[in-house]
């Protein structure tokens, strides 16, 4: 269809739009000079790091910028109609009718105290003035259309009563009810697990085709863009620096920022031996600090010339469907780029950990949470308590100096496993041994010698540091506590650590609120390594960071690990990152490890069916890559009451490969099958059948 549609005028045409916010520092231009077209049945992706003005563009389209935001220039033309300068009442008629939005966090976006049915039907009754009954029927139809199970019932429920993926479907159904010409999706899958994300992305694709809707898709995830978008606009610091078809941009990024972004993201299958991540130096400037009359990216650009600092580059067309805001886009060739000095992590080839004694060894570890039942009996302490089997029968070992990656969907017990090892949770059963120390007792009962050998890097940069104390104090605290250095040498040691995480001395006295997310994370790493631990647990250390910062932090972790010879356990939900970073990988599902082995073995057949499903759900930042289409249906069962037998049998897409058709999966816990000594798979399907599987991803 696209060939014919391109002949039509675009549904949405944005030209040189600029949006400002009034602040106490005066008007700050959050977005400027943004131009793009969105056509019928086409998805226009807006990518960029946080703080680049992506969402502002989305809200600017419908002029819903809050009390202090306003469109200060340019034109936003919707189906031939200029939207800038329209009255709110006119815009209101468009919103929800011709232009709909889908938001990042569906739970937040749905009113918690109004039933889903009411929230859906009111879109129809307000815009269409049709009888409630008819609106209801239409709503149910639409819910069915987005593959909502039991849709008539869902209408009566409240948002919290359905799962996150279903909530997102409701939001999508709500957006589509009036058959809008334009759908704006603001990070619609960011809050979802990768398997759910895959299903929702499929759904979006289906709907786009069936409804001919033009979609503006905002995301920070290059993989998602590659999967769903036709056209891409890359935003940086409030400007659109590159626009083009998805193929063109991925194959041939022209703007240095786009190139930088691509180099930050590990490809699924790339390893730290085979590839290097190159972070973009510096960070996104705050709106008020953006250079004026110059290229906004110049301060971070490797190609920046004098001209870039003195003149603002126009959006120049390279190919018919591809333009970039760079003076030198013609000259720059991404493939001949050489990293600047100091950006390449200094990693000598490490001696493999094979054959070495395992540093840590877990055998049959179980950590259950007690769940207080809400019965009356429990008031007097006689209630029957049930257990959430957060970690169930986990056995693994990490060889010294190696990295174990742990992946799985949220709630699979990754974090609990880490907490158990570190001593914040006490296991119910099983053995855990670390260099001969017992790890089954809580941290409060552990010896200081043991405590200092186990440290942790946390996920959320905003909460990893105590806002009340300076950087120096917080890095110094473990040094003082473990008496690693004499107290008069603490300062020097802290500064040494700061240097180790690429921060200079001036950070010593800074308070956390004066740091950016990446810097906080670096301080968190410095703090974890201060006591020179043997084992560092990283609990999603980069998942809250922008890609360029993520690359920097990953590099840093690798370097420090290399320098200190530390063993690591790396927890993440991003399979590409885990693959990139780890030597060994454990895949967890519902508290159990379902596959364990060297990283390269996990990402190649034979797969445990869950691993296969995970891999095929990962969005790959390459529009040409072929990926198997395996989707998990239903939701992860409650860990309070996990399925009998194989925990995965309720959702397993490969049950037909089991000889008896899958009956055994419901009854018996699967055996560990050893492909190699190190690679084991937790499945009833015979290894021979598993080996017949094809690789999930094949590059074109």
């Amino acid at each position: 269809m696209s060939s014919t549609d391109r002949g039509h005028a675009p549904i949405l045409r944005v030209r040189s739009a600029a949006i400002s916010y009034e602040t106490r520092y005066g008007d700050v231009e959050a977005v400027r000079d943004v131009s793009f077209d969105v056509h019928r049945a086409e998805t226009f992706g807006v990518v960029g790091e946080s703080g680049c003005g992506k969402s502002t563009v989305a809200f600017g389209i419908v002029d819903f910028l809050g009390a202090n935001g306003k469109i200060v220039g340019g034109s936003i033309n919707f189906q031939g109609r200029e939207l800038v300068g329209r009255s709110q009442e006119e815009l209101r008629k468009l919103r929800g009718d011709q232009i709909s939005m889908v938001y990042q966090d569906p739970m937040q976006a749905l009113n918690p105290s109004v039933t889903i049915g009411d929230q859906l039907t009111e879109v129809l009754t307000v815009h269409r003035k049709i009888p409630a009954k008819e609106a209801r029927e239409k709503s149910i139809d639409m819910l069915n259309r987005v593959y909502m199970p039991d849709s008539a019932n869902v209408m009566k429920r409240y948002p919290h009563q359905i799962s996150g993926g279903q909530q997102q479907r409701v939001v999508i159904a709500m957006a589509l009810l009036n058959n809008p010409a334009l759908l704006i999706m603001d990070e619609p899958t960011t809050a979802l697990d990768v398997t759910v994300e895959a299903v929702v992305l499929d759904l979006i694709e289906d709907l786009k085709r069936d409804f001919d809707t033009a979609i503006v898709y905002i995301t920070h995830d290059l993989g998602v863009v590659a999967r769903v978008c036709n056209q891409v606009g890359v935003m940086y610091a409030g400007e659109m620096v590159e626009v083009g078809s998805v193929e063109a941009i991925y194959a041939n990024p022209q703007h240095p920022y786009t190139q930088g972004l691509m180099r930050c993201v590990p490809k699924l299958g790339s390893t730290k031996e085979s590839s290097i991540l190159y972070p973009i130096r510096g960070r996104v400037p705050a709106p008020k600090d953006r250079p004026k009359g110059a290229c906004v990216f110049a301060p971070r650009c490797d190609y920046a010339a004098d001209k870039c600092y003195n003149e603002k580059p126009p959006l120049s067309t390279i190919e018919p469907d591809h333009s970039a805001r760079c003076f030198y886009s013609e000259e720059i060739d991404a493939s001949s780029w050489t990293p600047p000095e100091g950006m390449v992590p200094k990693l000598a080839a490490r001696t493999g950990g094979n054959g070495e004694e395992p540093l840590i060894k877990l055998t049959g570890l179980k950590t259950y949470y007690k769940q207080e039942s809400k019965s009356l009996l429990s008031l007097i302490g006689a209630g029957k308590s049930r257990y959430v089997k957060a970690v169930d029968d986990v056995s693994l070992q990490i060889p010294a100096n190696q990295t174990l990656g742990v992946v799985g969907e949220s709630g699979c017990g990754k974090s609990t496993l880490a907490k158990t090892i570190i001593g914040l949770e006490t296991p119910l059963a099983g053995e855990a041994e670390f260099l001969g120390f017992d790890l089954t007792n809580p941290v409060s009962q552990r010896d200081v010698k043991l405590i200092e050998e186990l440290q942790m890097v946390f996920q959320n940069p905003d909460s990893t540091m105590n806002p009340s104390y300076s950087v120096g104090h917080q890095i110094g605290r473990p040094l003082r506590r473990f008496r690693k250095v004499p107290s008069d040498a603490v300062r020097d040691e802290v500064i040494r650590l700061l240097h180790a995480v690429r921060l200079d001395e001036s950070y010593y006295r800074r308070l956390p609120r004066q740091l950016s997310g990446g810097e906080k994370q670096r301080v968190g790493i410095a703090r974890a390594f201060a006591s020179r631990p043997d084992l560092v647990l990283c609990d999603e250390p980069v998942s809250a960071l922008d890609v360029s910062v993520q690359a920097a932090v990953l590099n840093l972790l690798m370097e420090i690990q290399h320098e200190y010879g530390t063993t690591m356990m790396f927890i993440a939900h991003d399979l590409s990152v885990v693959r990139f970073f780890s030597d060994y990988v454990a895949v967890m599902y519902l508290g159990r490890i379902v596959e364990f082995g060297p990283a390269e073995a996990i990402y190649a057949p034979p797969y445990q069916p869950y691993t296969e499903a995970l891999l095929s759900a990962v969005p790959i930042p390459d529009p040409t890559a072929k990926q198997k289409h395996i989707r998990l249906h239903g939701t992860v069962p409650s860990a309070l009451n996990p399925p009998s037998g194989c925990p995965f049998h309720t959702r397993c897409p490969r049950r037909d490969m089991v000889p008896d058709g899958g009956g055994i999966c419901e009854k018996e816990i699967p055996p560990w099958q050893y492909e190699t000594e190190e690679h084991r798979i937790f499945c009833h399907i015979p290894l021979e059948r598993l080996r017949e599987m094809e690789p999930v991803v094949t590059a074109d």
Binding site: R92, Q108, N111, P112, M174
Partner: protein, 704 residues
């Protein structure tokens, strides 16, 4: 949901339990004396003890708390060994009765030695009859040593006539024999004891015993009234061991008494008169030592003049009748008492007072004394001596009878009976033990008797069964007044609530919608000012403005406990005060909540769905925005209750708050507890209501 409510109700009960225990504990620890608060500061320690006993306050803390909580009737039933029932009389009082096996309702009182049973007739009238069958031997193992001791006393008692003593000992021995037998039922005891006891009873002359009281009262009366006696008492005090504790005012009154005595002796004995006058002067001047020395010289003379009648009175007061007889004989003996002119001036008056005090109740003694006075006045000393001797003989005879009666009475086997008295208490009556019991008898004040009620369990149904007990201050059931007061308070609070809620919520929503705009500023700062100004200040301002300066409404509410609605205009200012304070509070909460909700992403969603502004506000914002205020307002009821106390005090409104304040200041624990329980119940149940409401408004909780 049901489970949740049950859970909350249980927690509420738990809270109330904790509160009631702490109120009990705190009032327990509080200094001050309830008996004095109720009866005035002049009561004697015995009376205080008796008061505490009668209200069950002598019991240990936990026992009282238990009775208060779950009632004492079940315990009393076990003690009385009969079912006990509360009935409501026609005039609205609640009476406790024991229920006999045949179903008739009875209760008792004790008159002298007799148990009187009152029986409630079906027509509501009450018949009374003697019911001594109920007495039970207290406890042989305790009685035997007591009786043996008594026997020894009887053997020693020189006041007893020989024959009486023999008869007494005879019966006593019989009783002891019977009591010493083991394994007898109470009935067998009663049967066996009846004969010797009857014999003992025959020995008791009740009339003679009553005369003891007459003697004693006369002795005290004369001692207090007669100036000469007072001088002697004063002298005793001055030289006694407690002299150091006497105070200035005591000296002053002594001086007055002494100088009055001096005046009375005018012309009788100038030396004595002068001496006394001097002593009085010394006392007034504060020179106690000299006063005493001066008195020292006078006392012997005074004693001589009064013919040692002081000893006579003292003997009668202490029931040493032998000594009294001896004094009379001494005066009648010329060798000992010359009856000179001075004595003749003093003695007749004194004797006349004694005889007046006896008031003809003991004619055998008072008649001869009367004659003696006459003779003395006439100067015929010989005849006077004869009549005095006669009085002495009569007194001696009487003393024998009294001694016998006392001994016989003391020899009776102590009997006890647990029953219900006419003041709604379970009482253990005792007789035959000889203990003195003080009782507050309605109409005749404090009375001391031997035998009578010994232990009380005030009957109450207990809070758990809806009975908060009797007010210690008024003796009326707490519940009666509590509910009137509660109703008055509810009228006040309810009116305020009805006015406040719609206005405050609407204003709050308006302010919240216009966050940061002038209308919001005015409303929220104005609201804050009203809500943080103490109620009494607001009240004062309102009184000043509307009652004092403008004079359009009454400034105080003075009406009976009953009807707030008899003069509704009186309610205007109290309600206005509460309204202002609450208005600001609710407004601010609603505003904050509304402003918060309007920033929620789902409101943005609603706008982006293209809903008109009014619909977004009404359908999506208000319900969520009301969640917080509703619950906080409910929690604020607690606070409102406090405000009501203050408002009630400002305007003199007869509500629950002022009732509790008075009870707390008075330490009327039952009333305080009753009020506290109502307040806590109101507070906690509104919290429960808040939770239920919150759950209703917030489906997220409802289905968890």
């Amino acid at each position: 949901m049901g489970k949740f409510i049950v859970r909350r109700l249980l927690l509420m009960l738990l809270t109330m339990l904790l509160v009631s225990i702490s109120v009990f504990l705190i009032t327990e620890a509080a200094p001050g004396n309830l008996a004095r608060n109720v009866l005035g500061i002049h009561i004697t320690p015995e009376q205080e003890a008796s008061f505490l006993q009668q209200h069950g306050l002598d019991k240990p803390f936990y026992e009282r708390y238990l009775y208060w909580l779950v009632g004492s009737d079940w315990r009393a039933e076990r003690l009385v060994n009969m079912p006990i029932q509360q009935i409501t009389t026609e005039d609205g009082f609640r009476d406790w009765w024991a229920v006999e096996e045949d179903g008739s309702r009875v209760r008792w009182d004790m008159q002298a030695e007799d148990l009187i049973v009152s029986e409630l007739q079906p027509d509501g009238s009450v018949t009374r009859s003697i019911d001594n069958e109920r007495w039970r031997v207290k406890d042989p193992s305790l009685e035997i040593p007591r009786l043996e001791e008594h026997r020894a006393e009887v053997v020693e008692d020189d006041q007893l006539a020989h024959a009486d003593r023999q008869a007494l000992l005879n019966e006593l021995d019989q009783i002891l024999t019977i009591l010493s037998r083991k394994d007898q039922s109470p009935e067998e005891f009663t049967a066996g004891l009846s004969e010797p006891e009857r014999a003992l009873e025959a020995m008791v002359d009740q009339e003679a015993l009553e005369k003891q009281t007459i003697f004693r009262e006369m002795a005290e009366g004369v001692g207090r009234r007669n100036h000469l006696m007072q001088v002697l008492t004063a002298y005793e005090q001055l030289s006694g061991p407690l002299a150091a504790e006497l105070r200035e005012s005591d000296f002053q009154s002594m001086a007055r008494q002494i100088s009055r005595a001096a005046v009375a002796l005018d012309g009788v004995d100038p030396t004595l008169e002068e001496g006394l006058a001097q002593a009085a002067e010394h006392l007034v001047g504060g020179d106690v030592g000299t006063a005493r020395t001066t008195l020292d010289a006078q006392v012997e003379r005074l004693d001589y003049l009064t013919g040692s009648l002081r000893d006579f009175l003292e003997a009668l007061r202490t029931e040493q009748y032998g000594d009294a007889v001896a004094v009379l004989r001494r005066i009648s003996d010329p060798a000992e008492t010359p009856l000179d002119q001075a004595q003749l001036q003093v003695l007749p008056d004194l004797l006349e007072e004694i005889q007046d005090g006896l008031n003809g109740d003991v004619p055998a003694v008072s008649e001869p004394l009367f004659q003696t006075t006459d003779h003395l006045r006439e100067g015929s000393t010989g005849e006077a001596r004869q009549t005095l001797a006669l009085a002495a003989d009569e007194l001696e005879q009487l003393s024998l009878v009294i001694a016998r009666s006392q001994a016989a009475q003391g020899a009776g086997v102590a009997r006890v009976f647990w029953g219900v008295d006419r003041q709604n208490r379970a009482v253990q009556w005792e007789k035959g033990t000889g203990d003195v019991v003080w009782r507050l008898v309605p109409g005749s004040g404090w009375m001391a008797t031997t035998g009578g009620p010994a232990e009380y369990v005030p009957l109450q149904r207990g809070l758990l069964r809806g009975d908060p007990g009797l007010s210690l201050r008024t003796g009326r059931p707490v519940a009666n007044l509590l509910f009137t007061r509660l109703r008055n308070s509810l009228v006040l609070a309810g009116l305020a609530f009805v006015i406040v809620m719609p206005i405050a919520l609407v204003l709050g929503l308006i302010a919240g919608l216009n966050e940061g705009k002038p209308v919001d500023r005015v409303l929220s700062i104005g609201g804050m000012m009203f809500s943080v100004t103490p109620e009494f200040v607001t009240g004062i301002f309102l009184i000043l403005i509307f009652a004092f300066w403008l004079g359009i409404v009454p400034g105080a509410t003075v009406f009976g406990a009953d009807a707030p609605w008899t003069r509704p205009e009186m309610l205007i200012l109290p309600v206005a005060t509460l309204t202002l304070v609450e208005l600001g509070y609710v407004l601010r909460i609603t505003r904050a909540s509304m402003a918060e909700v309007m920033k929620e992403p789902y409101i943005r969603t609603a706008y982006l769905k293209g809903l008109p502004g009014w619909r977004v506000v009404l359908k999506h914002a208000v319900r969520n925005a009301l969640m917080a205020p509703m619950t906080i307002i409910m929690l604020h009821v607690n606070w409102l209750l406090g405000g009501i106390v203050v408002v009630e005090v400002i305007f003199g409104y007869p509500g629950l708050g002022s009732y509790i304040l008075d009870s707390a200041l008075f330490r009327d624990v039952n009333a305080l507890q009753g009020g506290a329980m109502i307040l806590v119940a109101v507070a906690v149940s509104t919290q429960l209501l808040a939770d239920v409401l919150y759950t209703f408004l917030n489906p997220r909780i409802r289905y968890n």
